[in-house]
């Protein structure tokens, strides 16, 4: 078990991102701690995916900076992006390669050791242990999502950014994902997940961060909150007028 001082901390300071005249992130501040699962909530178009892309270095922000363990994160450094494990809307998988081939390919890119036994173990962790080695194009959406999660984990990233990770997963898949996230949390990873699946998120979140109008409008610790409590707090923040009217 890692001590509190060993744990990774990722901090976003005054991050702004504009697309043309549309301001998506507006001097946003957010601190993410190792061993915590932060669930990012927000209405459609609030900028959740953009925030994840900026945090991972896939997009540059117009203002602000990212700090990793207190030091400025410079994405021009060769290994800066490799500290992130990313699950986005698109699966990042090659359709004509099999599942194991995709994982071996990414492991080689990350220069991560992935012996056959470890590969099997990883596939089993995401519930694909018994899947025949067929090209990914014949996988269902849920199977692709499971493989995507395995791909994000294979290089033991310090930070996991998950964009709608429950998409396409059945009930069993969602439970499996929650237990995986729990294991990674215990390993001290920084975990940020965007989701609209509050019921599933409630089981794993340490903290809910509500993104609206380009800023983190509230941080809600997940302590003894029921699903109704979370929904009410969320609506109070994102749609205060309609809650007041009701």
């Amino acid at each position: 078990m890692k001590t509190e001082t060993d744990l990774t901390q990722l901090e976003a300071r005054a991050i702004s991102k504009r697309y043309g005249t549309q301001r998506v992130l507006d001097h946003l501040d957010l601190a993410l701690n190792g061993g915590e699962v932060t669930c990012l909530l927000g209405p459609n178009g609030a900028g959740k995916t953009t925030l994840l892309r900026v945090l991972s270095g896939l997009q540059r922000s117009q203002t602000g900076e990212l700090l990793l363990d207190g030091a400025r994160l410079d994405f021009h450094q060769p290994d800066a992006r490799r500290q992130f494990g990313l699950v986005m809307h698109q699966p990042f998988l090659y359709e004509h390669l099999t599942g194991p081939e995709n994982l071996r390919f990414y492991a080689r890119l990350y220069q991560a050791e992935l012996p056959e036994a470890q590969l099997r173990q990883l596939l089993t962790r995401v519930g694909l242990g018994k899947t025949r080695p067929v090209p990914v194009r014949s996988y269902s959406r849920g199977m692709k999502q499971r493989l995507t999660i395995a791909r994000a984990l294979l290089h033991n990233p310090r930070i996991l950014l998950l964009d709608e990770p429950y998409t396409g997963l059945d009930q069993q898949g969602c439970q499996l994902l929650n237990s995986l996230i729990g294991e990674e949390q215990a390993n001290g990873r920084v975990i940020l997940a965007t989701t609209h699946e509050l019921n599933h998120a409630r089981q794993i979140a340490s903290l809910f961060a509500v993104l609206t109008r380009g800023k983190i409008a509230a941080l809600i610790p997940n302590v003894g909150l029921s699903l109704d409590d979370i929904q009410l707090r969320y609506q109070q923040i994102t749609q205060p007028e309609s809650v007041a009217a009701a």
């Binding site: 992006r81 490799r82 990313l86 890119l109």
Partner: protein
């Protein structure tokens, strides 16, 4: 350096396996090349004497136009499933993606050339199995792939990528086109090396400059 090279070869392996299994790019390029050769064959009723003069131009035009189809696919295939983002996250340096794509595109161009030349020979009844001609085409394919890979990487993130690629690429390829056609024409006319050495030198210099320049700027080109 060893890791960089290993990463580049891993990316090339992936591209070739993907292409071999899907045959998307090769099928389109080869069909286009054969059809264009047939069109030239019927559109230009050439007598045996003028065939030699036109051969270099026809072959290079066919290879360049068919190659453009391949260039377009080389990066859009990555975009389809968001894989380009995954590569950006995983590789130690972004220039390695450029080098891998350059090698893949060059191999595909050479494969296309190897198929186009015999078809041309059959259709036009003209032997083209000359080592110097192959060298000129190799240098031309290298210059084409070096420039084309950079421009394809630049345009892939735009909505009008299919239109933008040829519009941006062809002006930059003018020196290559000119040098290949002149040098290949001289080879086919039976000239001595001294008669076209300056064109070969131009090709070599262009290839080296474009490759080095592209490696240096690729990271900035593909980032926002």
């Amino acid at each position: 350096m060893k890791n960089w090279l290993k990463t580049a070869l891993t990316l090339v392996w992936k591209d070739l396996v993907q292409e071999w299994r899907s045959r998307d790019m090769l099928t389109a390029m080869l069909s286009f090349a054969v059809l264009t050769l047939f069109i030239f064959n019927y559109a230009m009723e050439l007598n045996p004497a003028s065939r030699s003069e036109a051969a270099a131009g026809i072959i290079w035009v066919v290879i360049v136009f068919a190659g453009t189809l391949g260039l377009n696919r080389s990066f859009t295939a990555e975009q389809d499933q968001g894989c380009f983002d995954a590569l950006v996250m995983a590789v130690p340096e972004l220039s390695v993606i450029y080098v891998a794509k350059l090698i893949t595109n060059l191999l595909v161009m050479l494969f296309l050339t190897v198929l186009v030349i015999p078809i041309y020979s059959l259709l036009y009844n003209q032997s083209l199995f000359m080592p110097m001609l192959w060298l000129v085409l190799l240098l031309g394919a290298w210059g084409y792939s070096a420039t084309g890979t950079l421009i394809a990487g630049m345009t892939v993130q735009t909505r009008m990528r299919d239109l933008l690629l040829p519009i941006l690429l062809f002006p930059l390829l003018m020196p290559v086109n000119m040098a290949v056609v002149k040098a290949a024409g001289a080879v086919l006319a039976g000239s001595a090396l001294s008669g076209y050495a300056s064109w070969v030198n131009l090709l070599l210099v262009y290839d080296i400059i474009m490759t080095v320049l592209s490696i240096l700027v690729f990271e900035y080109v593909i980032q926002e």
